[in-house]
Symmetry: C2
Subunit: 203 residues, 2 copies
Amino acid sequence: MALDRDEISERVLEIAEALISEGGAANLKARSIAKQAEIAVGSIYNLFGDLDQLHGQVNMRLLDRLADAGAVAIAEQNKKGVTDTRLRLFSLAGAYLSFVQKHPASWAALLAFNPRKMAVDRQLAYESRLDTLFEIIAAVLAEDKTLKLDEQLLRLTARTLWSSVHGIVTNGAGRRQQERQGDGVWDQIDLLVTTFLKGIDRG
Amino acid sequence: MALDRDEISERVLEIAEALISEGGAANLKARSIAKQAEIAVGSIYNLFGDLDQLHGQVNMRLLDRLADAGAVAIAEQNKKGVTDTRLRLFSLAGAYLSFVQKHPASWAALLAFNPRKMAVDRQLAYESRLDTLFEIIAAVLAEDKTLKLDEQLLRLTARTLWSSVHGIVTNGAGRRQQERQGDGVWDQIDLLVTTFLKGIDRG
């Protein structure tokens, strides 16, 4: 029985995801996909336009999974009754760190990917995926009534914490010496979140 | 007059740097270098081992230039008599932001580069270049006697600030919408540095 268009797209996406996960963007080749999916090379272009569009869609799936991981981390904290903002932010940072460690090649490929290569409507969908990530952090900050952040400052704070943790996680990858010296990824995340929360003007 | 080994190495490095600057690591091809340097392809391998070693050496030059830019930024603050830690850290962050904007492809290639591809002695030289960058920040923090950071905490704080600013700078690249909404790169750097400094325990 022949697969329909949606089923083939799904299959191509799964293969593309596996290829990027194995060898980064350089490993995403139309010929490899066509062979594994048992379709013609031309079908890939018919379905996705070009390989950049396909990579963009793989990235959107990754971003969805990361958002899910964040939501799970917060749900677990809620279940345990953890209301401390610092601990809730640690759990989000931990979810991000695990995610990056689990998908090193795909995540590096996502970071190197230029969303402007995608069709315009896709770019908006892509940015909205990123916004979802900020919103998870913003929600944690908003629930802490001692912080008294207005909407603008809430958004800026969420983005700043996200970017900072992102910098710590991606910078620290593979520097074993730091971990030994006590200034590894977790030491930095702890210092950042703890000091930043202390420094927020609660006036 | 024939060039000596050092002169040819220098020339190859300059060409390699220009190639990476134009098109990232994918643009670093032995054939292109050989043609421009008017040498045999084999000479490149004789001089550098392989293209990863060559890329590593280009990266070390970039790191040296970034360290120079940081030193210049601090020297300018000293000349102006600026002793405020927040302003001095802003000037370092500004130097980093300008540097990344000036070398987008080379910097992306450096970040994607795995130093473990280099010969072991080179890896150490590479890491010591990175340490120089942290030391510039650590020196600014050490000069602020109100902070009272011991050596371990000084190093951890320098790394944390560096990684965080790095995350903000690299995450924010190309997201114009954020700048309009007031949560762009500079807004984040300002909030990070200001809030973090306030949060440091001066007990």
